[in-house]
Amino acid sequence: MKTTLKGFTRHVLLAAAALGAAGLAHAQEKVKVGLMLPYTGTYASLGNAITNGFKQFVSENGGKLGGREVEYFVVDDESDPAKATENAKKLIKRDNVDVLVGTVHSGVALAMSKVARENKTLMIVPNAGADELTGPLCDANLFRTSFSMWQPSYAMGKVMAAKGHKKVVTLTWKYAGGQQAVDGFKEAFEKGGGKVLKDMTLPFPNVEFQPFLTEIAALKPDAVYVFFAGGGAAKFAKDYAAAGLKNSIPLYASGFLTDGTIDAMGEASQGLLTTLHYGDGLDSAKNNAFRLNYAKSYKAQPDVYAVQGYDAAQAFNVGLTAVKGDTSKRAELIKAMETAKIDSPRGPFTFSKAHNPVQNIYLRKVEGRENKVIDTPEKSLADPARGCKL
């Protein structure tokens, strides 16, 4: 009995000492970061880039977030919406993570956000662009460090109208992401006086484009607007050029048509114009330092996904630092993130009311192997966050 009491006293004393030293007992424990990202399948390289970016910020920050060491809990989401709920629950219930970071695939991210909302877990989306996440499904605990589908597409609509294109044909896969991109584009393009002759879609992830190229040639629009990504994007650009359309009808795209696909497209990529929140040749001290560090750490050039991962860590760090590592002060943590100015390699951004980045959208042109930034058609563009009640 005596020893137990002595042990107890010692523990209290130790805890008191810890309190005195670090201010808070919490600061001694590691902060638990759940990374739920694709590490296999089509999006594996995106998941890896996001992870690399996240970890790069942590190491630049002395291996800590909000003054606390970091412990990672990693789950491969396989970009499979059917497994999303279970995977997210594992991280939240079993591993008890302080923040859930994920993911690339919008369908998976939507399912994750539902679990996070039910458990009131802080969640940061480092890519998935579904408008809903910061629209009708927005939540106080949910932040996004990437973009909404609407943002780059809206900017592209404005660019194409300003270039004097009047009649345009659109083409995308028939899924929510493609639909939202086309809607965003149309909103700005029609506002600018343009007219969409025809909206064409094909089932995801079908890549037989030949019938549509024939249609485009028959309709003879002033320009073509598309939304594609990955292998399908590479094939589309090649088919478009091989059909001889690239020289007669200019092709524009928002989003990721030319990200990670330039090598695969070869000659067909040259001169393509796209809009996105990041690009090559952004000459700022922050971006240069980021790119140099990334290249040193991972022996690879960073891409937009790495930036989004980096900013996810950065945004969480701002919140956690404001509460001195005490995650129980959730309201204050969120408040700090909401009011923060994130010093991103893409250029500084703030969060909108719906927690989506208010950011510049750049017009990029493919030159050599780079998406060179040639203009900034939208400065600090905020997503309209339709349906969000925050």
């Binding site: 089509t42 594996a44 292998g231 091989a242 695969a264």
Partner: protein, 288 residues
């Protein structure tokens, strides 16, 4: 749609159908003649495309890559048959499905480890890089026509092999009655190994030929797998001509479906399959 557009769309359909036949032909052999449900067929297509990419980067010449790739694919197919598939002929279809599904996962993972997950491309070989102008805005890439020609040659070649040669006779006999063929003193195991290797090589060749126009990316195999099964089933299991006819039907259905009924484009191929199977439950040309 005016008449001229109709003609061009028909050309698109024909060309797409022939490409589908090329992918499905290997499956007709393996599934139709050997009775193996090979879910990994799409993976062999993917392996072919990556092989073309790797060998083209190494040798600098697409044709050399294909010439090297075909024997590699044949050897790979023969090795797989000897190590794995040879044990499955007398087993249940379920075990074949399990094995071949496992192979999909293994092949994808190995690909990821060896070549990464990026999207790659191979330039269309110089001599076929041109396009033929069809009207003032549209032209047709020569390489696509070359692929179509290769597909026709392969279809005729396969038909000749199976219907007109001694080996073909043994293959057909083996597919009817394995034990009887064996008791006649024919080495059925060797024949099965040959057929399987041929099936793998055909899928890989399809991947190699398609690589310059389709680009090379993770998961590309799963896209062709389902459509290949649709074609084999519509065509009549085991029939090369049936597969060719089915591939052309699907090519036309898909092309005109996308243009005329865009909202149902994803459905139309399966609708065609349902109608054909109602009309002829064993496929258009049942092997006989």
């Amino acid at each position: 749609m005016d008449f001229y557009s109709f003609l061009i769309q028909s050309l698109n359909a024909l060309q797409y159908g022939l490409l589908l036949f090329l992918v499905a032909s290997g499956l007709t052999l393996v599934f139709g003649i050997m009775g193996i449900i090979n879910l990994a067929h799409g993976s062999f297509y993917m392996i072919g495309a990556y092989l073309a990419f790797a060998l083209t980067s190494l040798t600098g010449n697409f044709f050399v890559a294909i010439l090297l790739g075909i024997p590699l694919a044949l050897a790979f197919g023969a090795a797989l048959e000897a190590l794995l598939f040879a044990h499955l002929y007398k087993r249940d279809h379920l075990e074949q499905v399990l094995l071949t599904y496992g192979l999909i996962l293994i092949f994808e993972e190995v690909r990821s480890l060896l070549l990464g997950d990026d999207v790659h491309g191979i330039p269309v070989p110089e001599i076929f890089a041109a396009s033929i102008p069809l009207n003032d805005t549209l032209s047709y890439p020569v390489y696509r026509l070359v692929i179509s020609a290769v597909c026709i040659v392969l279809a005729v070649g396969l038909y000749w092999l199976i219907q007109r040669t001694r080996l073909g006779m043994m293959i057909r006999a083996g597919s009817h009655d394995r034990d009887m063929v064996q008791s006649l003193g024919i080495d059925i195991n060797r024949i099965y190994r040959t057929v399987f290797a041929l099936g793998v090589a055909l899928a890989a060749l399809a991947g190699m030929l398609a690589a310059p126009i389709s680009s090379v990316f993770p998961g590309m195999g799963s896209q062709v797998l389902i459509i290949s099964f649709v074609i084999v089933v519509i065509g009549g299991i085991g029939s090369v001509w049936g597969a060719l006819i089915a591939a052309l039907i699907i090519g036309f259905a898909d092309t005109f479906g996308k243009v005329l009924l865009p909202d149902f484009a994803g459905l139309i191929v399966y609708l065609v399959m349902a109608v054909v199977l109602l009309w002829r439950p064993e496929g258009i040309l049942k092997k006989g």
